[in-house]
């Protein structure tokens, strides 16, 4: 009986193709929009969290924002204080940051440079395309060695390998010159939210503080967590700790995990909100289905009369028209899924994201279109089942 009803439904759809197509349009657009929005939301979240995770999900950066009172707090020793403040912290790397002019034999570049400890590179997952990093001893000795980011290396040495060559760094207004030996070049690394590694140079921390700027205030603390600790939790605890020392305006913390967390919450909420709006078009589509089903029942009054005379009970007639409405909305839903997925594919292609199809959205779309079929098909089906057999038979 069920299959017979589906056959009848398909037959009814085929006899009035244009009308069926038009009445399905609402469902197709509604389902398509819901599917597209949920898929795009999922893809956007995936891409944002993906690119954030590149910055290291187990790393928290603390940026001091010193004033006269707190200036002296942010020194190298404060890194140890930070480390001891939370059991989730593995180690803390203080980083100095400045800007200067680099000069090779062929070219110059105005770039960012950092004073870092030897563990910085592995912590930030930086790899070498040639040469290597400096050792802990070289840092202690304040050797004049430098590691170049990928694009800075090409800029300064367009034609030859930089490793082993010397470059000069000009700093300050007086044009103080310091010569460095290039010992390593980094592989190309995607720009993170806070740092462009490719156009930067890296020198030992002690070289920075003793030979370039004789200062002790640190510009960034890179905090590496122990495995198994939640970055968001530790960040929150760290914020409380720093609040108590320098006040909430005395520093900023940044962790990819925190941003990823917020970003996925925002895109999640946004896509749910948009999907809800798209859901309204499903409702409108449902009204279209109800309309077409009422027309169908009216047109087929005679057929209903004949079927009743042949022994179809009210529930059988109701089932026939309900199945027809559900088939109609399901077909619309499936076309809508294809349409919505195509739309998501096009948009992600243009935006340069990788498409992540949300199968949940397909399930929601199918479920919702069936629900629309049942909800809006019920009344027309009930009308059909309640027709008086004699009146229906005599209907012309």
């Amino acid at each position: 009986m069920f299959w017979e009803n589906i056959k009848l439904a398909i037959e009814a759809m085929r006899t009035s193709k244009l009308r069926t197509a038009l009445s399905l349009l609402g469902i197709i657009i509604g389902v398509g929009a819901v599917v597209a929005i949920l898929n795009l939301g999922a893809s956007a979240t995936e891409n944002i969290t993906g690119s954030l995770a590149q910055g290291g999900s187990d790393i928290i950066s603390v940026y001091p924002n010193p004033n006269e009172r707190t200036q002296s707090i942010f020194n190298i020793q404060f890194g140890l204080t930070l480390r001891d403040s939370n059991e989730g912290i593995d180690y803390v790397i203080p980083v100095m940051n400045s800007h200067g002019n680099f000069k090779s034999k062929d070219a110059t570049s105005s770039s960012n440079y950092l004073g870092v400890e030897s563990t910085y590179f592995s912590t930030q997952k930086l790899l070498y395309s040639s040469g290597s990093g400096f050792t802990a001893q070289e840092n202690i000795d304040a050797n004049q060695v430098v590691i170049l980011g990928a694009s800075l290396a090409t800029k300064l040495f367009p034609e030859e390998s930089p490793v082993g060559k010397n470059i000069t760094l000009l700093t300050g207004d007086q044009g103080k010159m310091t010569t460095f030996e290039v010992i390593g070049v980094l592989k190309d690394k995607e720009q993170s939210y806070t740092m462009n590694y490719n156009d930067s140079a890296f020198i030992p921390f002690n070289t920075f503080t003793r030979k370039i700027y004789k200062i002790t205030s640190v510009s960034t603390y890179i905090i590496k967590l122990k495995p198994g600790y939640d970055t968001v939790n530790v960040t929150n605890q760290l914020n409380k700790f720093l609040d108590s020392i320098v006040g909430s305006d005395g520093y900023n913390t940044f962790s990819s995990a925190m941003i990823a967390n917020i970003a996925s919450q925002v895109t999640g909420t946004l896509s749910l909100f948009l999907a809800a709006i798209a859901g309204i078009s499903l409702l409108v589509g449902g009204i279209g289905i109800m309309n077409i089903m009422l027309v169908s029942v009216a047109e087929r009054t005679k057929e209903i009369g004949i079927r009743k005379a042949l022994g179809a009970s009210p529930s059988v007639i109701r089932g026939q028209f309900l199945v027809e409405a559900i088939t109609l909305t399901l077909v619309g839903g499936i076309i809508g899924i294809v349409f919505g997925s195509g739309l998501s594919y096009a948009v992600t292609n243009i935006a340069g994201w990788t498409l992540k199809l949300s199968y949940t959205s397909f399930a929601i779309a199918v479920g919702f279109s069936m629900f629309v079929g049942i909800f809006f098909g019920w009344y027309p089906a009930k009308t059909a089942s309640k027709l008086d057999p004699i009146e229906a038979l005599n209907y012309e």
Binding site: A309, G311, P314
Partner: protein
Amino acid sequence: MAKSIIYLDNVKRYYLVGDYFVKALDGVSLNINEGEFTSIMGPSGSGKSTMMNLIGCLDTATSGIIKIDGESTNGMNETELAYIRNKKVGFIFQQFNLLGKQSALKNVETPLLYGGISPKLRKEMAMEALDVVGLADRMKHRPNELSGGQKQRVAIARAIVSNPSILLADEPTGALDTKTGHQIMELFETLNAQGRTVIFVTHDLSLGNRCRRQIHLRDGKILGAI
């Protein structure tokens, strides 16, 4: 003793039209035994169709007792009436009332569908019924590809396919020419000879007179019977 298949006792069917009742059937009593061939005759508005609808369980009486195959239909709900229509009654209408989009075979299968018969058996039984009415070679045709007489044969095949006790034919020859009408009548006679109870409503005296038992209706009452 012959078994009573249709029993009507003082059956009335009134319709409320505006402020007054139309007495479509006004106290009809009747007994028809299994295997009888009965014609019902009378002018338009005499209550023929109303009586057929009541016997066929398409309608319910205002008062009186109706028993089909010994079972009282009084107080039955729509589903129970549908069951009686499906199992006990085969309808044949003046306007054939075939399902226009379905093949002859599918049309004949329809009562079996509602009777819960399996698809395979449905097809076999429908082909057999079409064979009985001489249309085995037309089973793939749709109603609009068939002549009037052929359509009525399909309708008859549909009426007999589930082997009901009663065939109710409401002016089955009304839309056919005389010659075809007589052929259809012959088919009914054959079906009756095979033991089926036939009730045959007609205007046509020459057809009505071929029945052993004749009932004449006027103004909702039985005028006379042979």
